[in-house]
């Protein structure tokens, strides 16, 4: 393969995310353990760690917004419990992202597990906020808080999520942005 062809392929790969910015994006965010917690009404707070994977219809979202689907969720509390998506449903986390960054998941279907116990539950009206990257073409941060009225020993359970692009995703994003910047610089030079 000639150097020219390889260079063109590499350039195409680098430029693809920017050129296709309005297509569906799959984004994996990692929880910031320092800012993600699970706090029962009574009892000690726990930290939360893990990832959530999103399928976003178009960035930046135009008009009334775009689809914002949680398609992967793997959270672990420091107490040992895990939170994932309900595997019985094909689409357990369908939501919308407004141009303002507001997120709404009308019903989020979760599965909680600890040891051998499995509990499926639905959380109505989950809201959150997305902080966009430059130009609205990427997700820089997601914040959300869920309050579960347990009625049990723990009382009200508050789950706070602060999620950032994974290091790998962030690196890819940086490369894409750099490529964009380089292309812009070349255009400037031609003028």
């Amino acid at each position: 393969m000639s150097l020219l062809v390889r260079s063109l392929l590499l350039a195409a790969a680098l430029l693809a995310p920017a050129a296709d910015a309005r297509a569906v994006s799959i984004v994996t965010l990692a929880l910031d353990p320092a800012a993600s917690t699970l706090v029962p009404e009574s009892g000690p707070a726990q930290t939360l760690a893990g990832t959530l994977t999103l399928r976003v219809g178009a960035l930046p979202p135009g008009g009334t917004g775009t689809s914002f689907d949680v398609i992967g969720l793997a959270l672990t509390a420091s107490g040992g419990g895990t939170i994932g998506l309900d595997p019985a449903l094909a689409n357990p986390g369908l939501g919308v992202l407004r141009p303002t960054g507001e997120v709404l998941i009308p019903t989020l279907f979760l599965r909680l597990e600890q040891g051998g116990d499995v509990l499926d539950l639905a959380i109505p009206d989950v809201t959150g906020t997305v902080t966009f990257g430059p130009g609205g073409a990427s997700l820089a941060r997601l914040d959300a808080q869920l309050e579960l009225a347990t009625g049990g020993q723990a009382g009200l359970l508050t789950v706070t999520i602060a999620a950032l692009p994974e290091p790998a995703s962030a690196a890819l994003l940086a490369v894409g942005l750099a490529a964009l910047a380089a292309r812009g610089a070349r255009k400037e030079v031609r003028r």
């Binding site: 919308v96 909680l112 600890q114 109505p124 009225a149």
Partner: protein, 612 residues
């Protein structure tokens, strides 16, 4: 920003918060509310106040008082309040099928509401004629059963089914006498207080008692249901979902509702413009109709007449129905069984089975079960849960429109009833009682090793009906039959705020209107009937069939789906393998639930994005 959910099964919360493993917790209790709302103002109906108003007959007054208002629409609401107080985002309105009542939908509704944790409500409709059911005996009986007052419970049976000497129709081998309390005395009919301040026995209504029903056409039904749709829309808002649907014949009614033009003038106000999706459960939707109309008189079919093609012809037939002595306006019998008695009997048998499961049946003492067609099916000594079980289980019921898979009975000989391909239960050995084996009993008989023709005296609860037909093949049953439905839940749903069977299924006017199928343009007058918008119906449709039911394959829905404007990608079909006709409504751990949940989720997302 926050989301707050009431999660009654949240031992998980404690689990996650403390790291303590917690055992299974009870699911959140779904609440029910029976709502009676002002319905469409049909002028001939008692209580309308219009010049055309017809009087309520004395039997109707005994039930509903001297000045009843029958322009009402009733619905059984299944819901779970959200702790935030916010309204649900989705309301599913469902219509039962032939002889069906609102509680047909209860198990499905409870699973859907619980699954959405309050973000979805299910409103199950009772048609207008439900108001005519004389449920005094059932309510009295329930109170007595609750108190453990057996003599009182037997009085409730004698309210509907008084003792009979020599039996009304001792066939084929019954003793002919019905002594419900077995006191050796021919007791008089038991009477209860009525709405006129006196006491009276069971008010079993005939068509001449309710001639105003001749004016309850599909137009009246749909305008009643439109009231519900509008209320639901006001609750969920413009970005929420109102989904309409039905079961069995209710799929036909719901499809016709979607096709209805509510604009009384030349404009168009299509029903489908007010809903966001259509859910068809074990029924193929509205058909193309018939060229003729057949009325019945006292249950006897009359000569068919051509379907009217003008308002004058249509009005003439309605006038026949409204005239005393005219054709039946409510179905008088079903398999020779007086329908109102069947409804009352089902409710009593439900009470008996619920409160006295496993004990000798009281309900089978009554004349209805000891004579005529029911004695063939229910004529052997049995336990209290058995009359409902044998009447409705797909292995024993001769009526596939009413059957589900609730278990089996194999503690006595079974024989094949060739006419229907179902089993007849013979007497238990040594004078014992036939009893029921629940749906989740691991010893339910399978074929093989048992014989489908019951030549082994047992037969099969579970059998293989063969490979799945191709989507374009004619509908045929296939797959391994399932036993997903719980008889105990069915017994419980026979009684309460409302019930499972419809005692007065409309005839006459319904036959007239149904002759137009999914397009009443041939009538040429939208002021009588306006099913004119089927071709413009473009909302998403989810059709669910049962491979052992009446809509067993994709082809079951082809006629309707090909008649509407819904794009192919929005026509979804799911066939639940092994499910009989009622199972999509009555199954525990219903396999249709995740399918419906996913469909609703996708519709809601589209709605929020303005793409629906």
């Amino acid at each position: 920003m926050s989301a707050r959910a009431s999660v009654a099964l949240l031992a998980a919360a404690g689990l996650l918060a403390t790291g303590v493993t917690v055992a299974q917790c009870p699911p959140p209790p779904v609440q029910r509310e029976y709502r009676v709302l002002p319905g469409h103002l049909e002028p001939h109906t008692p209580g309308s106040g219009a010049p055309e108003e017809l009087p309520a007959s004395l039997p109707v007054q005994r039930l509903l008082g001297p000045s009843p208002d029958l322009n009402r629409v009733t619905v059984l609401r299944h819901f779970l309040p959200k702790p935030s107080g916010a309204p649900p985002r989705v309301i599913l309105i469902v219509v039962p099928g032939f002889l069906g009542g609102a509680t047909n939908f209860t198990p499905l509704a409870e699973q859907l509401v619980r699954r959405f944790n309050g973000n979805l409500e299910v409103w199950a409709v009772d048609r207008r004629t439900n108001q005519l059911e004389d449920r005094r005996g059932a309510l009295y009986g329930r109170a007595r059963f609750e108190e453990g007052d057996i003599a009182g419970a037997l009085d409730a049976l004698q309210f509907y089914f008084p003792d009979v000497h020599a039996g009304p129709n001792p066939f084929p081998n019954n003793p002919g006498d019905a002594d419900v309390d077995e006191d050796g005395v021919l007791d008089p009919p038991f009477a209860l207080p009525d709405a006129l301040g006196g006491t009276s026995a069971f008010q079993q209504l005939g068509s001449d008692d309710v001639r105003f029903v001749a004016h309850w056409g599909l137009d009246t039904w749909f305008r009643d249901w439109r009231i519900l749709v509008d209320e639901a829309r006001a609750i969920v808002g413009p970005s929420g979902l109102v989904v309409f649907g039905g079961h069995s014949a209710g799929t036909g009614f719901s499809g016709q509702f979607a096709a209805y033009d509510f604009d009384p003038g030349p404009g168009v106000d299509a029903g489908h413009e007010h809903i966001d999706g259509l859910l068809l459960l074990e029924g193929g939707g509205p058909g193309p109709g018939n060229a003729t109309v057949t009325f019945q008189v006292n249950g006897v079919a009359q000569n068919p007449v051509p379907r009217p093609t003008s308002a004058a012809e249509y009005d003439a037939l309605v006038a026949q129905l409204a005239a005393p002595g005219g054709p039946d306006v409510v179905l008088s019998s079903f398999f020779t069984i007086p329908l109102a008695q069947l409804g009352a009997g089902a409710e009593l048998a439900g009470l008996d089975g619920h409160y006295r499961y496993g004990q000798p049946s009281f309900a089978s003492r009554v004349s209805l079960l000891q004579s005529g067609a029911l004695s063939l099916l229910l004529g052997v000594p049995m336990t209290a849960e058995m009359p409902v079980a044998l009447f409705i289980d797909d292995d024993f019921s001769p009526v596939s429109q009413l059957s589900g898979s609730f278990g089996f009975s194999d503690d006595g000989p079974n024989a094949l009833f060739p006419l229907f391909g179902t089993y007849l239960a013979g007497p238990a050995p040594a004078g014992g009682l036939r009893s029921w084996k629940a749906f989740d009993d691991p010893t339910l008989p399978t074929c093989p090793p048992n014989a489908p023709d019951a030549s082994d005296g047992v037969g099969c609860a579970i059998l293989d009906r063969g490979p799945r037909p191709a989507p374009t093949d004619p509908p045929a049953r296939w797959g391994t039959t399932a036993e997903p439905s719980d008889l105990r839940a069915l017994l419980r749903n026979q009684f309460g705020e409302t019930n499972f069977l419809e005692w007065y299924y409309q005839a006459g006017r319904l036959a007239l209107d149904q002759s137009y199928g999914r397009d009443s343009s041939a009538l040429g007058d939208e002021s009588r009937l306006a099913i004119t918008q089927n071709a413009t119906m473009d909302k998403p449709v989810l059709a669910i069939g049962g491979s052992n039911g009446l809509a067993p394959t994709e082809a079951s829905f082809a006629s309707y789906l090909s008649s509407i404007a819904t794009p192919p990608e929005d026509r979804e079909i799911f066939i639940a393998e092994g499910y009989a006709h009622l199972d999509p409504l009555t199954a525990e751990d219903n396999v249709a639930v995740p399918v419906i949940v996913d469909w609703v989720n996708r519709l809601l997302q589209r709605k929020l994005l303005g793409a629906l």
